[in-house]
């Protein structure tokens, strides 16, 4: 099967800045894929190149087998992009914007039923005739997502879709996006909420300084950090003998990395000997944030 996205040796320079340094990436059709990385890692540059908003310095990008430049029309028809910024056209209402957006992609009146469906599914029904200017931030975000879906693209890119969005919208939105994924749409997500990526995505790429530093299934990435995390709140500073285990600390709150639960007894006895009492204790599994910190530090 043709990959939904195929990127080979992609380089992008902005003057002296080498923003992307030979990125290779293939995303299969039907995947729920996350692109993670700190600010300035190159995620948005990669998405803008995919959408044809930027031109690569070298390398190739294909969407559903169509070259983003040589066959730009077919590539753009296959792609829906939710931009990161809350942009909108102040002259029109939600329904008008969606119809225009579908029209730009060659969809006419026959597409109206789909437009109604996305308005309904994203909770925009009572705002369909409201001017875009009058929408709240969350509603504008919903409208942006709806615009990206207006032409029913097989590949959907969501660039930080939940930034500044309340819990209710997040749930409505992810429910809808999950449904699209079950129906066969490929979803590519960038987010700063790592728990979202962990819960939703089957595969993850982590970027740093314009390169992909990790590309694996979510499960394999989580397995990279075996063991558990011990979260402790202590009455006094941690004894020196345990400092080698510290992952992070804040005041007298510590997170220690432990290989297995047998190590617990040793830690507790060391604390007892030092006369340090435990005010609170929690044993937690390593999560994507730990992997992220580990890989990018």
């Amino acid at each position: 099967m043709i990959p939904a996205i195929n990127i080979q040796q992609l380089h992008k320079h902005f003057g002296d800045l080498h923003a992307l340094k030979g990125v290779d990436l293939s995303i299969e059709q039907g995947e729920f894929f996350a692109l993670l990385g700190p600010n300035g890692a190159g995620k948005s540059t990669l998405i803008n190149l995919l959408a044809g908003l930027l031109r690569p310095s070298s390398g190739s990008l294909q969407v559903m087998g169509h070259d983003v430049h040589a066959a730009y029309a077919a590539a753009r028809l296959a792609l829906g992009v939710v931009p990161q910024e809350l942009v909108f056209d102040p002259f029109f209402n939600v329904r008008e914007m969606l119809r225009f957006q579908a029209g730009y992609f060659g969809r006419g009146r026959e597409n109206d039923a789909w437009v109604d469906e996305i308005i309904e599914s994203l909770g925009l029904a009572d705002k369909a005739h409201t001017n875009m200017r009058r929408l709240s931030g969350g509603m504008k975000r919903r409208a942006l997502i709806a615009q990206a879906l207006a032409h029913k693209p097989p590949v959907i890119v969501l660039d930080e879709p939940t930034a500044g969005v309340d819990v209710e919208l997040r749930q409505t939105m992810w429910e809808f996006i999950r449904r699209l994924n079950r129906e066969g749409h490929t979803i590519i997500l960038t987010t700063h909420y790592l728990e979202e990526a962990e819960a939703l995505c089957s595969r993850i790429a982590m970027m740093k300084h314009g390169e992909i530093v990790a590309l694996d299934s979510t499960r394999n990435l989580l397995n990279r950090l075996p063991g558990k995390r011990l979260k402790l709140s202590l009455s006094a500073p941690l004894p020196e003998g345990l400092r080698a285990l510290v992952r992070s600390e804040q005041g007298r709150d510590y997170i220690l990395a432990i290989a297995d639960t047998t190590q617990l007894e040793l830690i507790l006895s060391e604390l007892r000997v030092a006369g340090v009492s435990i005010e609170d204790m929690q044993l937690i599994e390593a999560d994507l944030e730990d992997v992220f910190v580990e890989l990018l530090s």
């Binding site: 902005f14 908003l53 931009p83 910024e85 225009f100 957006q101 029209g103 730009y104 615009q147």
Partner: protein, 265 residues
């Protein structure tokens, strides 16, 4: 077979995409028609009232043509040109500054389709404003229509030329200040010094020569010829200059759009 099907599907998408962008651009100016249509008509009428009141009995530019009658075609054409320019330029700069141009940039509309949509909307706004001034002016004075074909040709070519110029300005400018500079230091002087209010034959020889370098002069003179059958120069020369300028600017615009200048980094 698959290739030809997908090619025809892409062509249909592009056609409908262009049509949608054109409709959106029309609706955009129509939604604020007090500002985009009524206001320029009002401004032109104020010029007409003031200048005709002051100069009607004192100036006769062409034999048998009163000053008010002489002035009206010039005012119509000046407003038509300014509004054709304003339509494409303001739409593009607003979309760029607000960021919503991304919605069009993500779509599979070709650079030619993009150009045609903005061009056609600009022409229509120019014609609507021009027609509005013409109809209101008819309440005050009977205007001859010696050669309607020339009137229509110059109206279409003039609004096309300025609509194209507006696209170039809209792509080039990065902030409202730059656009205002373009409008106030290029468009306004060229339109005011083009013979809207006078015949260039009333100017000293040096300034007559300078006026021949102003493309607005040819648009206004050719347009006025369509009403009175008389002008400062042959309408064929004016048509050649205006059509040539339109063709050259269109090529430049298409080249800018194809290269993604200031739109696709």
């Amino acid at each position: 077979m698959k290739t030809s099907l997908s090619t025809s599907s892409n062509a249909r998408s592009n056609l409908l995409g262009t049509w949608t962008l054109f409709k959106k651009e029309l609706l955009r100016f129509w939604r604020v028609s007090f500002q985009t249509v009524a206001a320029p008509i009002m401004t032109a009428l104020l010029y007409l009232l003031i200048f005709s009141h002051v100069l009607e009995d004192k100036v006769q530019v062409y034999p048998g043509v009163g000053y008010t009658a002489f002035l009206i075609p010039g005012l119509i054409m000046m407003s038509l040109l300014q509004n054709a320019f304003a339509n494409s330029s303001s739409s593009l700069i607003q979309s760029k500054v607000m960021g919503n141009i991304i919605f069009v940039m993500l779509a599979p509309i070709s650079y030619l389709g993009f150009y045609l949509a903005f061009l056609a909307a600009s022409i229509i706004r120019g014609l609507v404003v021009g027609l509005g001034i013409f109809l209101v002016a008819l309440l005050f004075i009977d205007l001859p229509l010696a050669h309607p074909g020339w009137i229509l040709s110059f109206a279409l070519l003039g609004s096309g030329l300025l609509g194209t110029f507006g696209i170039i300005a809209g792509i080039w400018a990065e902030k409202f200040d730059q656009m205002a500079a373009f409008q106030n230091f290029v468009i306004m002087p060229l339109s005011f010094l083009s013979g809207v209010f006078y015949s260039i034959h009333s100017l000293p020889p040096f300034w007559q020569q300078v006026s021949h370098l102003n493309p607005f002069f040819y648009m206004i003179d050719g347009f006025r010829y369509g009403f009175f059958g008389v002008g400062d120069i042959s309408p064929f020369i004016s048509l050649g200059v205006v059509a040539g300028s339109f063709f050259a600017l269109s090529l430049l615009t298409l080249r800018m759009l194809k290269s993604g200048y200031k739109l696709r980094g």
